[in-house]
């Protein structure tokens, strides 16, 4: 059993009357020769690392190694506690957790790349926030990480998850789609709805360039993780409401690859164009590395 495209993954789940996570689990067993217990145990271990990195920056402000960024997860948490917010507090908490993971990452702390380190905040952000809600069992959340993995595999194999190859849409866009997919499955959505969540989330990220200031995974990576955690929650709700991605999700993935290939090198993780090229971006680069050589 194997899948290369989303429609194949959905068809496998439908024909076997199982979830996408269960398809992924069966494929993983077949490919690696490991038992489902071993696979889930490893996933659980990754979830534990995710949780620690999501809570760390909320409990206390963390500064990045360069000193350019940090403390935003803590600011958002304090703001939530004041109790007067536009976005629902439970949703904002996903944002603060996502920010925390990205801040831990910028401090050369331990995180789980999902699918990459630059986009590592989004999946833990939403998963730890729904764990806090008390509505879902830890095991079910760990299982949903396999849904996210299946979607990530499709994107990585038919497009890209590398910012250097495909821009930020390939990293943050992929992570948002993966997180939305995981949420739809936890929310008892159908495999078709999982697919639509991927299409919706990814469409909203198309064209996102990778333009980190000084080449550091900080500006704008950290805030993008925070904001896209909320996008993932919203895309999952949209799909569960019955909204469909009119452009089929597989075609959205294909076009993400095409857009990535048309992006100039300066906007693909070289730290040259975009925000990195602004006067402030250049000044911050010099403040960390000195005058460019």
């Amino acid at each position: 059993m194997s899948f290369q495209y989303l429609h194949e993954l959905i068809a496998l789940a439908e024909s076997r009357k199982v979830s996408i996570a269960q398809v992924m689990l069966a494929v993983e067993e077949e490919q690696t020769g490991r038992t489902s217990e071993q696979i889930l145990q490893q996933m659980e271990k990754q979830f534990t690392v995710m949780e620690a990195s999501a809570r760390k920056g909320v409990e206390q402000p963390i500064r990045s190694r360069s000193g350019l960024t940090g403390g935003d997860a803590y600011l958002v948490k304090e703001y939530i506690e004041k109790g007067d917010t536009f976005v629902a507090p439970s949703t904002l908490r996903a944002m603060s957790y996502a920010l925390s993971v990205s801040e831990v990452n910028a401090g050369m702390g331990c995180i789980v790349a999902t699918p990459t380190a630059g986009a590592a905040g989004i999946l833990p952000g939403v998963l730890i926030s729904i764990l806090d809600s008390g509505k879902y069992r830890r095991e079910a959340i760990v299982m949903s990480m396999l849904t996210a993995a299946a979607v990530g595999l499709v994107i990585a194999n038919s497009a890209s998850i590398s910012g250097a190859a495909g821009g930020c849409q390939a990293e943050v866009g992929s992570a948002t789609a993966m997180a939305a997919a995981a949420l739809v499955e936890i929310g008892k959505g159908t495999p078709q709805q999982v697919g639509h969540a991927v299409g919706l989330a990814l469409k909203n990220s198309l064209g996102l360039v990778c333009d980190p200031v000084g080449g550091l995974v900080e500006i704008p990576c950290i805030i993008r993780n925070g904001l896209h955690a909320i996008t993932a929650l919203a895309a999952a709700d949209m799909a569960l409401a019955g909204v469909k991605s009119v452009i089929p999700p597989d075609e959205v993935i294909q076009v993400m690859q095409a857009i990535g290939q048309e992006m100039p090198l300066s906007l693909r993780e070289t730290g040259i164009g975009g925000l990195a090229s602004t006067p402030t971006g250049k000044r911050l680069r010099e403040s960390v590395f000195g005058k460019s050589d």
Partner: protein, 222 residues
């Protein structure tokens, strides 16, 4: 398809800040060390593309060094790799280079022990996944995700048949096999990925049974 496992996507557990520029770089350094198979004393890294532009910001330099020192992506000591290198007498240098048509995140590693040296070009493909593109001037490809045999030998008829028979007799399934040679009957490298863990017994029997084999190295990334 380049990505096979759920853990290629959810994972690795790693020290930040970048899966391609930090975790992938640790893995490349680590593979180079395993191929050298001896204590390294000097290493030179030639970086191209995005690696060259942003290596300092991502800690790519520390990560490559950490890998050469034998550390893994999860190691909290990755940020201290320069100090560990100084303490263990490993000297190193970094420079930019155009290595040719490779993925934007590509590095050439020239690694030396007291007796030997190797040259390796590898790319970091995203999400911490890496692929070796060239070894000692030959276009060999491997990732180290599965237990991998790197066999240095002389090109001679019957070599592949001996290897495959020996592996089969010992219960190994070959996942991938490739031979590259400089010229007919010249120096050659065979890369063989297997599904099962490689044992010392197998390595010993390969060394004693196959006359044209010069050096055996085992590579496995974490």
């Amino acid at each position: 398809m380049k990505y096979h496992s759920a853990f290629d996507i959810i994972g690795p557990i790693m020290v930040g800040p970048s899966s391609s520029h930090t975790a992938g770089a640790v893995r490349i350094g680590n593979i180079a060390r395993q191929v050298l198979g001896e204590e390294p004393v000097h290493v030179t890294f030639h970086l191209m593309g995005s690696f060259a532009e942003t290596y300092r910001g991502h800690g790519t330099d520390l990560a490559l060094l950490a890998g050469v020192l034998g550390l893994t992506t999860e190691s909290e000591q990755v940020p201290d790799a320069d100090r560990i290198a100084a303490a263990s007498g490993l000297t190193y240098g970094f420079s930019q280079a155009n290595l040719g048509w490779f993925h934007p995140n590509t590095v050439e590693v020239l690694l030396k022990s007291k007796q030997h040296s190797i040259q390796l070009i590898a790319s970091s493909l995203g999400g911490g996944k890496v692929e070796v593109q060239e070894l000692d001037g030959l276009p060999v490809k491997f990732s180290g995700e599965k237990p991998t045999l790197i066999l240095y030998h002389i090109d001679q008829r019957g070599f592949i048949s001996m290897i495959s028979r020996l592996l089969d007799a010992n219960g190994y399934n070959i996942a991938r096999l490739a031979l590259e040679r400089s010229r007919r009957k010249g120096a050659a490298i065979t890369v063989c990925e297997v599904d099962e863990e490689l044992t010392d017994d197998l390595i010993a029997s390969l060394a004693t049974t196959i006359p044209m084999l010069k050096t055996i190295r085992v590579v496995k990334t974490f």
